[in-house]
Symmetry: C2
Subunit: 407 residues, 2 copies
Amino acid sequence: MRNIVIGQSGGPTAAINASLAGAYHRAKELGFDVVYGMHHGVEGLLREDLIELEPYLDDPEDIEVLKRTPASALGTCRYRLKDYREDDSDYRKVIEVMEKYDIEVFLYIGGNDSMDTVKELSDYAAEHGLPQRFMGVPKTIDNDLPVTDHCPGYGSAAKYIATSLKEVMRDNNAGDVHKPTIIVAEIMGRNAGWLTAAAALVKSGDCSGVDAIFLPEQVFDMDEFRRVVRELGEKGKPAIIAVSEGVRVADGRYVCELAADVAVDAFGHKQMSGTAAYLCGLISSEFGYKTRYIEFSTLQRAASHLASRTDIEEAFDCGVAAVNLAVEGHTGEMIVMVRDTDSPYACHMEGYDIHSVANLEKGLPVEWITADHQMSEAYEHYARPLIQGEVLPIFVDGVPQHLLIGE
Amino acid sequence: MRNIVIGQSGGPTAAINASLAGAYHRAKELGFDVVYGMHHGVEGLLREDLIELEPYLDDPEDIEVLKRTPASALGTCRYRLKDYREDDSDYRKVIEVMEKYDIEVFLYIGGNDSMDTVKELSDYAAEHGLPQRFMGVPKTIDNDLPVTDHCPGYGSAAKYIATSLKEVMRDNNAGDVHKPTIIVAEIMGRNAGWLTAAAALVKSGDCSGVDAIFLPEQVFDMDEFRRVVRELGEKGKPAIIAVSEGVRVADGRYVCELAADVAVDAFGHKQMSGTAAYLCGLISSEFGYKTRYIEFSTLQRAASHLASRTDIEEAFDCGVAAVNLAVEGHTGEMIVMVRDTDSPYACHMEGYDIHSVANLEKGLPVEWITADHQMSEAYEHYARPLIQGEVLPIFVDGVPQHLLIGE
């Protein structure tokens, strides 16, 4: 066997390194000679910034630490290849580097944009009769890649959000009875509400769940929001509302953009506030209720200390499957997860034509959103299995150990 | 034996219920007949809102779940008793309720203000020759109670902060090389920098640590901050700065107050921004660097899923010690932790005159802050033992189980 190169691209997740670990492990098992990592994605490959992975991963425990390391251990990029029909210089360079380093397989772990890179490269190779093969491994906390039942990275982010919201609810419910607070929690997901929907997973035997969830799949109706706030406020009890950062009003503007006409920051610059901060401003100024916003920010995609075992194992297996298929001669495919059964939950991996995946986004089915701003049972059946189990960090000196590559 | 009542007061922590668990467990062991909880602190007791705890805690597993439940399971309050020399109605009511329910011991778990309640009640009882006994159990993520080596709640919050910052750093370091981002992370602690100092615990074998730490124990010099930012920006690499929400400039104003002259929110109201948000505005408007703020908000005090085992066990033991001493006849004392040795780390609990504790704050020694905005080794020796070990949540349906009392 010759060599293989693996890259990571787009926004990091808690599971993206598990796919790297799976791909590396399987590649060595199948006898690839050298497994290279692209330092900061295809951009790194273009400047021949490749890292031999074996020195970092020669001990089985290294693989375990890598699976527990958040963000892209190889470094990420957001580089989009030009259209090769107009300018094929990047493509020629990719092939040149692959030939120089005797690399026959290019594996790319990423989201929508990254899958476009795989598509373009595999199309280019096919048109030019080149032997190099290009495979995609899905990764995104946004869970918005089509065809696949769900995406590695989603389950861990969902578990973190559900756990943290449950803890914040305990904190809020235990508070001073004279100051019931309406919390607005802002959750990532510009265009798809998958991650915000995970707020529904808070609901369990010992928790009544969040009071309302607002997703970008529906127009954000400010008057309906006011109605919900008024109803919660009149109860005089602590409450919590989950909103996606991507909610928009009827004219298409993001809620966070509504601030820009009026709000200025301390330096006199027009300010686009956070969605939750804006809504808390509304609650406080129009209703006078005590309110507090919570932004999970990058915590929600980086929290490896609270990863879902299901997610990490599947991410690993997606890496394995990509190597298996590449060795069998596949190219121009992304690994997809196919759900076999809900209960017991079971999925298997397949390769799928990258042309049906790249540049497409899968929104959450709107029929899963109930009229009272909750998620239906269908979502519960879909998502609950994905947050099952834990992968515990390996703690050294009281904090989780991480694996560094090329730093 | 007769009865005992336990209350929780002030801001919640991840460890406050472990003290409740310890006190309950020991009280039953020593043969107290009924263990009552005050529903929302002394305010609940004043309106006779008491909860018999046994039905909630009769199974040993309940105790384990309680230890893993964030925030005050009994509910909290921020009620401050009036000075009994001016108005003793609250005091007479407390004694009346204690007599009515045959309660001989009043145990209060809380921070500075709560210890004042214990002091006033025990003074009142002493002056009137009353037999009821009043004991305090320390609790605060701020770690600012005097005499005690440290406070239950601090270790868990510190562990959460160090872990989360380390993950955020991985995320930031792995990012797009064209957009190095300077993150400003805002950490709780109005007057004492203990919690923000925990950012220093990020530093470990696989992590170089945060780039700068700013604590309220030193005047916040805006020009020095600019110098640090310029130096970091010129390196062209991702960076992270930890700031306490309580930093103030030379004229005594909080940094977060500096915004108020200019900034208005979307509703035209003067806005006091967060400290980190303000500083990010400065970085972006004066230097043009990419920046992002992170506010840990209530997450840092509620994250039971990442509690320190050392902290939870000590919190439990503080509850036990308070009951032991009360039974021996002590009153008007707070439990303090005395450090016996640093390595191996060992502490024991003692009772301490509440008059030397209540209403006093312990700041972090300024000599532990180095000229380059890091923490000295003395802090490392002090704090590292406090974040050792983990208490894992009991997960049900993928999220941690919590114990609810009186809800």
